[in-house]
């Protein structure tokens, strides 16, 4: 194994290897920053570029691009509340409020650090797990997916920006929206009115772009402010940001673990990872008052998970030849074109390629974080530009970006509708977060619920150890705050 590791590292030491790494990373950054574009798009674009390259070099440029996407998506999430990719959405919850307080440097510093370290964590787990990856993946089935989805949904109760009642309504509405489309279990189309675009339901990414990028830009444009408003940009923030990750190492670690685990489980999706990590951090924090208003721990947790998930997603890809994410699917396609058959064979015959993959993932993440840290100050200054200039640009880029994802005008319409709808959601005190979470997880919850019933019956949820544990955890997290409000004396009073 060590020999393969060395063999896998060598290509990265060559000039062409480093050049391809840089090129891939820069491409990945560009695609990560723009709303709508992300990992799958940049990989698909780079496939023809790799035709003449050796498998090692092809891996370097592709993974270089892939590794640069998560953090880049977070840059815009923090600066302009526009996650470049769905997986950076949770970073906006606390990252953007920090920008509004003039602390963009702090947020970026923490984000860059948590991202780089999270990626290293994910890659390390990947390397260690390859021998036991099978058991881990096999342990998660429909009931576990369902419980994870419910756990994510329970966040709605916690992350209320404002009236919890309205959060519940937002969540409920999001759940209703998630029922639109072809129900995979019955094959029946619900609420599609014969339209083939709606067959796939309301896709989360266009909805995200609409609600976060466009709605926010509408708000800023109307109010004629800049993002940072009257606050001065705190320049020392970047170092503080870096330090904060180490000061909150527990938060970072938990976020990384969650990200990796979710990444490993095919079927839940990487976008869920950052939401769950964020939710989990709130649930376990003693002082919850700052979340949603600029608590750096929210940024750290979301970012760690966002990057660790890629390492995790490589596990089923490498172990079973079953891609753990959309990016992995494209990557596998690219590898096939280079004559590499995905699957357990790859593990046995070409372990060196796997190691090139792992090392490149780590290096790309570090590289993009360094670039981000170095330019953090300049990037932070962007938050001072008057929204009169920024907003119109975001409108155009968002709508065009939404189209570029799948070449579907329907996506553009969804983005527009959610942009307008999202504005009212925000202005009238409802919760964007709850709606997005419900939209994302609603489908998974429905599917896995039905799947459990057909395959195992209702006992499936309670007979399996992991599912049962998750269920108990959910109950604990939901009732704990209520229990805490009772002091022992009150409890005694009740008993009398």
């Amino acid at each position: 194994m060590l020999a393969s590791a060395l063999e896998g590292f060598m290509p990265l030491l060559s000039w062409s290897g480093l050049l391809l790494l840089l090129l891939g990373t820069l491409m990945g950054m560009l695609f990560g920053i723009l709303p709508g574009l992300g990992g799958p798009q940049v990989l698909a674009l780079l496939i023809p570029v790799t035709y003449g390259l050796s498998p090692h070099m092809a891996t370097i440029i592709l993974i270089g691009a892939m590794g640069a996407v998560p953090f880049s998506g977070s840059i815009t999430a923090i600066l302009i509340n526009t996650p470049g990719t769905g997986a950076s959405a949770a970073t906006t919850f606390d990252g953007f409020p920090l920008s509004r307080q003039g602390k963009a440097g702090l947020a970026l510093g923490a984000s860059a650090t948590a991202s780089a370290l999270g990626a290293i964590f994910g890659a390390a787990v990947l390397a260690l797990l390859i021998p036991v990856g099978r058991q881990v993946i096999m342990a998660f089935s429909y009931p576990e997916f369902f419980m994870l989805a419910i756990m994510g949904l329970s966040v709605i109760a916690l992350v209320s920006q404002g009236s919890p009642w309205k959060s519940l309504i937002s969540g409920g509405f999001g759940l209703m929206l998630s029922t639109i489309g072809s129900d995979p279990i019955t094959g029946l189309s619900r609420f599609t009115f014969g339209n083939f675009y709606l067959w796939d339901g309301i896709k989360p990414v266009p909805a995200l772009i609409g609600m976060f990028a466009i709605a926010e830009s509408i708000d800023l444009f109307i109010k004629k402010e800049s993002i940072a408003g009257q606050h001065k940009i705190l320049i020392s923030g970047v170092w503080d940001g870096i330090r904060s990750v180490f000061q909150n190492f527990g938060v970072f670690l938990r976020g990384s673990i969650i990200g990796t685990v979710i990444g490993i489980i095919p079927g839940v999706g990487g976008v869920v990872a950052n939401f769950l990590a964020y939710a989990q951090t709130i649930q376990t924090a003693k002082d919850k008052s700052g979340f949603g208003k600029g608590d750096i721990r929210g940024v750290i947790a979301a970012e760690a998970a966002n990057n660790a998930k890629d390492g995790g997603a490589l596990v089923p890809t490498v172990v079973f030849g079953i891609p753990g994410s959309l990016e992995m699917a494209v990557l596998l396609g690219a590898l096939i074109l280079h004559g590499l058959e995905p699957g357990p064979d790859l593990l046995l015959d070409r372990l060196d390629i796997i190691f090139t993959l792992i090392f490149t993932l780590v290096l790309a993440n570090i590289l993009v974080s360094v670039i981000g840290l170095v330019s953090a100050r300049q990037l932070a200054r962007l938050t001072k530009i008057p929204s009169a200039y920024v907003a119109p640009v975001i409108f155009c880029l968002s709508l065009i970006g939404a189209y570029s994802m799948n070449n579907l005008f329907g996506d553009v319409l969804v983005t527009l509708c959610f942009g307008i709808f999202g504005y009212f959601v925000k202005r009238l005190g409802y919760s964007k977060i709850a709606l997005v979470i419900a939209l994302l997880l609603g489908k998974i919850a429905q599917e896995s619920f039905h799947q459990t019933l057909v395959s195992m019956g209702i006992k499936g949820f309670f007979v399996r150890p992991i599912s049962l544990c998750l269920f108990i955890l959910i109950l604990v997290f939901l009732t704990l705050p209520y229990l805490k409000t009772f002091s022992p004396r009150q409890a005694k009073g009740l008993l009398k």
């Binding site: 698909a44 995979p184 094959g187 095919p266 030849g321 004559g339 064979d345 395959s455």
Partner: protein, 319 residues
């Protein structure tokens, strides 16, 4: 007001940017050729197209050939984009049978595969039935004798062939849908479903690794690497071979000019026969089993004909 005029002028000018032009076969292609793939990048169909693109380009004197992925709507969205594209030869597409043919039979769609300008078939693949090692059923006979068997499928429309074949083989299936074929395969490996049935190329890696057990092959002859697995032909249901298989075809919108069509047909045929391409495809176990344009045309009609008798079943599952 002046500003409005400026706007109007700009808009009108940009309209001019989309002007068409008459083409001769010699001048073709005048701009990059786009092949629309109605799937996300990275899947089986997409990989095939990307595999042949450099060779197709070579046959067209180095013309630029690019892939555009338009997934969704159960393959129909992308198909409609191909069908409705300008028939000047610059927009082509990948078609997949039987899914798109099945939809046409069920009705409610605005395309007719009979009118597509067919250029050739890239490949075709039979299916394999694979049992989960954790299932309580250990053979095809046990499946047939059971009261309830859980079949893992990707989506219902993609599994129509399997549903029909299971009915013919008298297996009482309860289909359980998943997000994609990969999730269904994983479910089978875990033991959450009893068996799956997918194209040979899709299942080959997991079968080789022993994660699933092959029990039946939907082809005429036994496969080279699965010598001891019986075929559906041996079981006495040879007609099912045409029902349970997929095909990847290249085609263009209806009413493409004859000269350009001929030029493309020739290029596609030559590209698919290219030795280098075939060697590469064989190496990654995605063989090119091509047919030329006239054969592809009759293929499509044959597929439509073979599914027509099952219209009731199809409507039951897909409406």
């Amino acid at each position: 007001m002046k500003k409005l005029y400026v706007c109007l002028i700009v808009f009108v000018l940009t309209l001019g940017l989309c002007g068409p032009g008459a083409l001769t076969a010699e001048a073709f292609p005048q701009k990059p050729i786009t092949i629309i793939v109605p799937f996300s990048p990275g899947g089986g169909a997409d990989t095939y197209v990307r595999l042949i693109i450099p060779y197709l380009s070579r046959q067209l004197d180095g013309a630029n050939v690019i892939v555009k992925n338009i997934p969704g709507g159960d393959m129909i969205t992308g198909l409609m984009k191909i069908y409705r594209a300008r028939p000047d030869g610059h927009t082509l597409g990948l078609f997949m049978t039987p899914g798109q043919a099945v939809r046409q039979i069920v009705g409610g769609v605005n395309y007719d595969l009979g009118k597509v300008t067919w250029l050739g078939r890239i490949s075709t693949m039979g299916y394999i039935m694979a049992l989960s090692p954790k299932s309580k059923f250990k053979s095809l006979e046990e499946l047939q004798n059971a009261d309830k068997v859980i079949l893992g499928v990707a989506n219902i429309s993609g599994a129509i062939g399997t549903l029909i074949s299971s009915e013919k083989l008298k297996i009482k299936i309860t289909p359980l849908a998943h997000r994609g074929s990969r999730e269904a395969i994983l479910a089978a490996i875990r033991g959450d479903v009893d068996f799956v049935q997918f194209p040979i190329t899709t299942l080959r890696p997991v079968l080789k690794a022993g994660d699933l057990k092959p029990v039946l092959v939907f082809s005429k002859n036994r496969l080279a690497d699965f010598q001891n697995i019986p075929t559906i032909d041996e079981l006495g249901h040879p007609t099912l071979i045409d029902i349970v298989k997929i095909g990847y075809y290249l085609g263009g919108p209806p009413s493409m000019p004859l000269e350009i069509t001929r030029k493309l047909e020739k290029a596609v045929e030559a590209a698919l026969k290219d030795k280098e391409l075939r060697a590469k495809a064989d190496k990654v176990k995605r063989p090119i089993i091509e047919s030329n344009a006239p054969e592809a045309r009759s293929d499509i009609h044959a597929i439509l004909d073979s599914y027509a008798p099952f219209k009731e079943v199809l409507v039951k599952y897909l409406k």
